[in-house]
Symmetry: C2
DNA sequence: CCTTGACACCTAGAAACCCTAGGCCTAGCG
DNA sequence: CGCTAGGCCTAGGGTTTCTAGGTGTCAAGG
C-alpha cells in the first residue's frame, strides 16, 4: 500500500534535502515522514537507489562521514541539483494546475 | 518530452469521462488537451491501452457505435469507476498536501 | 482519380520507475 | 549475549508510459 509516488520521488528528495541541508539517507526518510505527517513513509529500497540515481545524474553529491562511529553517507544538493529542483517544482505546479482543470466540473473560461 | 504523468493517467481519464459523459478515445484525448490548455497532450498509444486496462478492471464499460459511419468505441464510467475516481481523487489531494508540506520552506507547526 | 490530412482504432516492445525482500554491519541497553 | 534501532546496500519483479509503428474511413482539392 502506502502512497503512490511515481515520478515525484526526485522532487521530494531534492526538496527535503534543500530543507534539511546536508544529511544522510536514513535521516532523509525520517524527515519526509515527519514533515508530511506520515503521508510519505518511504522504504529504504526506494530511497537509497534514488539517491544513487540522483548522484549519477549530478544532482546531489555524497561524502562518507564517520564522526559518530556510525558509517553514514551524507548527501548534499549540487548547483545542478538546485536548478533541477526548481525545474521539477514548476513542472509539479503545472501538473497540479492541469489536474485541477480536469477535476473541476465544467465552468468554461470566461475572459 | 511532454508532461510526465506517471500514475495519474487513470485519474485524468476517469475525471475527463465524468465531465464529458460517454465518449470515445479520440475525443477524450482532445478533451484532455483542451481542458488542460495543452498541458496534457497524450499520445494514442498511452490512452487506448489505458482504456482497455480500465475496462478490464471494471471501471469503464464500452460499446461500439457506428451511427456516423465512423467506427467508434464509446466509453462510460461504471459505478465502480465512479467510486474509484472518488478514491483516486482524495489520494491525489493527499499527495498534493504532502508535496506542499515538503516544498514549503520550514515554518514549524505551532499548535 | 488520387492524394492528403483529419478521424479513429490498435499492438508490440522498450525504458523507467518503485517496491518487496532480502542481506550486511555497528552501537547501546538490559 | 541478545535485541533493537540505526545505517547502508542490491537484485528482481511488476506496473506503467511512451515510441513507433500498423489498419482503415471520410472529405476536400488538384
Amino acid at each position: 500500500m502506502s502512497m503512490d509516488l511515481r515520478g515525484h520521488l526526485d522532487l521530494l528528495i531534492l526538496a527535503a534535502l534543500r530543507h534539511t541541508g546536508p544529511t544522510h539517507g536514513y535521516a532523509l526518510i525520517q524527515a519526509l515522514r515527519d514533515r508530511s505527517d506520515g503521508t510519505f513513509d518511504l522504504p529504504e529500497g526506494t530511497v537509497y537507489p534514488a539517491l544513487h540515481r540522483l548522484e549519477r545524474a549530478g544532482l546531489v553529491a555524497s561524502a562518507w562521514n564517520d564522526d559518530t562511529g556510525r558509517r553514514r553517507r551524507c548527501y548534499e544538493l549540487t548547483d545542478q541539483g538546485r536548478a533541477a529542483l526548481a525545474a521539477k517544482q514548476s513542472e509539479w505546479h503545472a501538473l497540479v494546475r492541469g489536474v485541477a482543470a480536469i477535476l473541476t466540473p465544467a465552468q468554461g473560461a470566461p475572459a
